[in-house]
């Protein structure tokens, strides 16, 4: 059982790392702001989400696991709020003054 859970943790964390790496690569390599924002939101929501998912079985309790989920929820909320604001900012920047 514990081996199974550990395998799950490793796989999920690895997947999370992949999204973080992909998001950063996108942030660095994509040519324009909108596609960079697209890359960032993947890293933000999926990368952290998968890492949280992977760590859940390692928390050894319901309360710490709940705290972990709250942290992810806050990050999601922040991402969902800031994403449109950044997009608006980017449009303003691209538009001629």
């Amino acid at each position: 059982m514990s081996l199974l859970l550990d395998t799950f943790t490793i796989l999920a964390v690895l997947a999370g790392l992949f999204f973080f790496a992909a998001g950063t690569a996108g942030l660095l390599r994509f040519p324009d702001t909108s596609s960079r924002l697209h890359a960032l939101t993947k890293a933000d929501n999926l990368g952290l989400g998968l890492i949280v998912l992977g760590l859940l079985p390692q928390m050894g309790g319901v309360l710490p696991a709940l705290k972990l989920l709250v942290i992810w929820g806050l990050a999601l909320l922040a991402g969902a709020t800031v994403g449109p604001l950044i997009a608006r900012l980017a449009r303003q920047e691209d538009a001629p003054p």
């Binding site: 550990d6 943790t9 490793i10 964390v13 690895l14 999370g16 790392l17 973080f20 790496a21 998001g23 950063t24 690569a25 942030l27 660095l28 702001t33 960079r36 924002l37 960032l40 890293a43 933000d44 990368g47 952290l48 890492i51 949280v52 760590l55 390692q58 928390m59 710490p64 705290k67 972990l68 709250v70 942290i71 806050l74 990050a75 909320l77 922040a78 991402g79 709020t81 800031v82 604001l85 950044i86 997009a87 900012l89 980017a90 303003q92 920047e93 538009a95 001629p96 003054p97």
Partner: protein, 88 residues
């Protein structure tokens, strides 16, 4: 297990450091805000991974604080950003 998670934390740290290049280079304000956001999320991930890896539950509280304040900082950045055409 703990070693693997520590390596995972290091990998996230590397990607976050890569994202910093975007803060340094810009060019627009939006790009810098995005990179700051990635820094916040990455910081949370690093804290979570090291909390489990080193068995330090206090780091979860640090991650919680960071999650609250990173959202706040990003809002502050957007609210006060130089207005139209503010390419700096």
């Amino acid at each position: 297990m703990s070693d693997l998670l520590q390596i995972a934390a290091l990998v996230v740290l590397v990607t976050v450091a890569g994202g910093l290049l975007r803060i340094l280079r810009g060019p627009g304000v939006a790009d810098r805000v995005m990179a700051a956001q990635l820094l916040g999320t990455g910081g949370i991930a690093v804290l979570l991974l090291s909390s489990v890896a080193t068995g330090a539950p206090a780091l979860l509280d640090a991650a919680l604080t960071l999650a609250l304040l990173a959202a706040f900082a990003a809002v502050a950045l957007v609210m006060t950003a130089p207005g139209r055409g503010g390419r700096r």
